[in-house]
């Protein structure tokens, strides 16, 4: 449904040039939920805008539903549903009025495709006369999704739809996405949340404008072949710094309340490191082995790009 071939995007501002995307290629099949994972500034929004025909790429080609995003942008705009990162509906119109407006704009009615949005809208229904600007964050996103779905698009583009939304609503949101993909709608979603990445059919890791890897989440995680342990100590910050200085350590990052540490050598004996740390004066040092998560794999890939102990 979505095909991107060597997409490049360069922003020119007076004398400066910013490379937002470099050689991005990916494919999304019909009925697939594809997650674009990457930190801020990785180029996610630029890619979204290119695929939704809002930006002209400076290099490469892309097709959505078989239509070229540059030459056949009108056809693309007819079959696509789009939810940009910021809330982009009319604040002074009510929930119902917003929905009706977008239905009419797409030459359809709310009734015609109500089935699409039924499960989401039922939660909004008590507030249908409330002004959209007065809704909570989660409600706003739900409304945004409804308005994007109301015309039964073939492809759905969601740019960070769950940012700033409470965990319960997030879960509900992803339930809906699963249902949509079951209906045959392709979903292209970006998220900074690694746990949501697990819920996608396939994910693409993007960093500084380049695609690092594309695969099913489980398969990606298996690619992480380094020795990975978690560390904890009394003084986390100096622990982090000291561990990073160790030659045997490949990378060390904070993860929640622990440190994730990887080693060059798969057979490295961790107790060695613990001994050296205790020599330095660290107290209460403990460690345990962990399974690599997507985030770990992402960190490994980005670390490979930079020159080593990470930042």
């Amino acid at each position: 449904m979505i095909v991107a071939e060597n997409i490049g995007m360069v922003y020119r501002q007076m004398l400066k040039e910013v490379v937002a995307l470099k050689n991005v290629s990916l494919e999304v099949k019909k009925g697939e939920v594809f997650g674009l994972i990457g930190p801020d500034g990785a180029g996610k929004s630029s890619l979204f805008r290119i695929l939704t025909t809002l930006l002209l790429p400076t290099a490469g080609r892309a097709f959505v539903g078989g239509h070229d995003v540059v030459d056949q942008f009108r056809e693309v705009r007819n079959i696509v549903g789009y939810m940009p990162g910021k809330f982009s509906l009319y604040q002074d119109l009510s929930v119902e009025e917003n929905l009706r407006f977008f239905a009419r704009v797409f030459d359809t009615t709310v009734q015609a495709n109500y089935g699409q949005i039924k499960d989401i809208y039922e939660q909004l229904a008590p507030f249908k006369n409330r002004r959209a600007g007065a809704l909570s964050g989660g409600m706003k996103q739900k409304l945004g999704l409804c308005c994007a779905l109301i015309h039964k698009p073939e492809v759905l583009f969601l740019d960070e739809p769950t940012t700033g939304v409470d965990p319960i609503s997030r879960q509900e949101f992803w339930d809906v996405l699963k249902r949509l993909s079951g209906d045959g709608i392709s979903v292209f979603v970006s998220t900074p949340y690694m746990d949501e990445a697990r819920l996608c059919d396939r994910i693409g890791l993007i960093f500084k404008g380049e695609i690092l890897a594309v695969d099913e989440p489980d398969k990606l995680v298996k690619r992480h072949d380094q020795k990975l342990v978690a560390f904890r100590g009394r003084n986390m910050y100096t622990l982090l710094q000291d561990i990073r200085q160790e030659a045997a350590v490949y990378s060390c990052f904070t993860f929640g309340d622990a440190l994730h540490v990887t080693f060059h050598d798969r057979e490295y004996v961790v107790d060695e490191l613990v001994r050296r740390l205790e020599e330095r004066g660290h107290e209460g040092v403990e460690w345990w082995p962990i399974e690599a998560g997507i985030e770990d794999y992402f960190m490994k890939l980005t670390n490979d790009r930079c020159d080593g102990k990470g930042d």
């Binding site: 805008r49 809002l54 705009r77 509906l89 009319y90 002074d92 704009v105």
Partner: protein
């Protein structure tokens, strides 16, 4: 694109626009009250009849005749002698301090000159910094001198008498308002409409709703035309109130066809809105749009529209430029209809030209409407 789809989208969009405008009660109120207030203020305050203009007198003759002339001038409502000075330097200082509109200077021997040669000279020094009143003031002086002359020569038999009858057509009381009020109506309507319309599209760009709109089948012509409609309705409502105020409070009659005037006013409102929409399409931020509307449009509207400065002294090139502004056309047409009571025959050219400009502006807006984010 199918006509039916176009109409559907148009109505959907127009309905949304009406929601916007009706829900912002404060702005709606301001949109109606503001033009009324401005009209009332300017209708009463702007007056080109010159009264009590500060004058200085340098009388180096100081004979009865020169004193009589000065007394005549001072007695008129136009001039007010604020002081008698003794040297040209004092005159200079007064002008430099901005205290004078003009100065009258009599050289020594004024009366003697008249008795001997029949001619006496009075010098008039006008304020060079404000030329707009000079010729009017000069003619006022001339009239007073003329009357004085008549009295001086009263005993001389005038064998022939030409009896002039001067009639003032359209404006027997020479009220300033007749000339200014159509101008104020034009300027205020134009600026308010352009300003509001200039924000119409930019606001959606800034708030992000434009992004979602673009990724939809809706076409630029629909957006642009639908944005015009609610403001046009408000504008038409404004025109009615403005005309009522002109007639009943400002005492400027509508000698001609009210329907025609209303019709032209509507076309004019449309053209001003189209101008604003064009600004809205071409700018990226609300700030830019507002700067263009206020700093860019206010002065041309005042200076180039025939409101104050007459149009017939302009060079042909300037005249063409000036008539490309709808406000110029409207003011001239409004004066023709309101004051002169003329009909379509006198204003059809302005009407057609206004309509053409409106269409051109809308077409430019549609063409320049960005289909993508840049």
């Amino acid at each position: 694109m199918k006509i039916k789809t176009f109409i559907d989208q148009f109505f959907a969009f127009t309905q949304k626009e009406f929601f916007h405008i009706l829900r912002d009660r404060k702005t709606l109120l301001v949109l109606i009250v503001l033009p009324i207030t401005q009209l009332l203020i300017f209708g009463f305050a702007l007056n080109s009849n010159l009264t009590e203009m500060p004058t200085a007198v340098l009388d180096l003759s100081n004979d009865p005749l020169s004193r009589q002339v000065v007394a005549e001038l001072d007695a008129s409502t136009t001039f007010h002698v604020i002081g008698r000075v003794n040297s040209m330097e004092e005159v200079d200082e007064l002008f430099k301090a901005g205290k004078l509109s003009q100065a009258f200077v009599f050289m020594p021997g004024f009366e003697k000159s008249i008795k001997q040669t029949g001619t006496g000279n009075m010098q008039v020094i006008m304020d060079a910094s404000l030329g707009i009143n000079s010729s009017t003031l000069e003619s006022h002086i001339l009239v007073i001198l003329l009357k004085f002359q008549q009295r001086m020569n009263a005993d001389r038999e005038i064998p022939i008498q030409i009896i002039p009858e001067v009639k003032m057509r359209y404006n027997p009381e020479l009220s300033s308002a007749f000339h200014f009020v159509p101008g104020v109506i034009g300027i205020v309507l134009m600026l308010v409409c352009s300003m509001m319309a200039s924000l119409a599209i930019v606001k959606e760009k800034e708030s992000g709703t434009m992004e979602v709109l673009l990724v939809s089948p809706i076409r630029p012509p629909v957006i642009i035309l639908a944005k015009l409609v609610p403001y046009l309705i408000v504008g038409m409502f404004n025109i009615v109130i403005i005309l009522l105020i002109s007639v009943f409070i400002l005492k400027v009659p509508i000698a001609g066809n009210i329907i025609l005037l209303f019709f032209i006013g509507t076309i004019f409102t449309l053209s001003s809105l189209a101008l604003g929409i064009m600004v809205s399409v071409l700018t990226k931020t609300q700030r830019s749009a507002i700067i263009v509307s206020i700093a860019g449009l206010m002065l041309p509207a005042i200076v180039m529209s025939g409101f104050i400065f007459p149009l017939d002294v302009l060079s042909p090139a300037m005249r063409v430029v000036v008539h490309c502004m709808p406000v110029t056309l409207f003011i001239s047409a409004a004066r023709n209809i309101m004051i002169k009571g003329l009909g379509m025959v006198a204003v059809y050219r302005e009407l057609i030209w206004m309509a053409v400009i409106t269409v051109v502006l809308i077409v430019i807006s549609i063409k320049c409407f960005k289909n993508r984010l840049s």
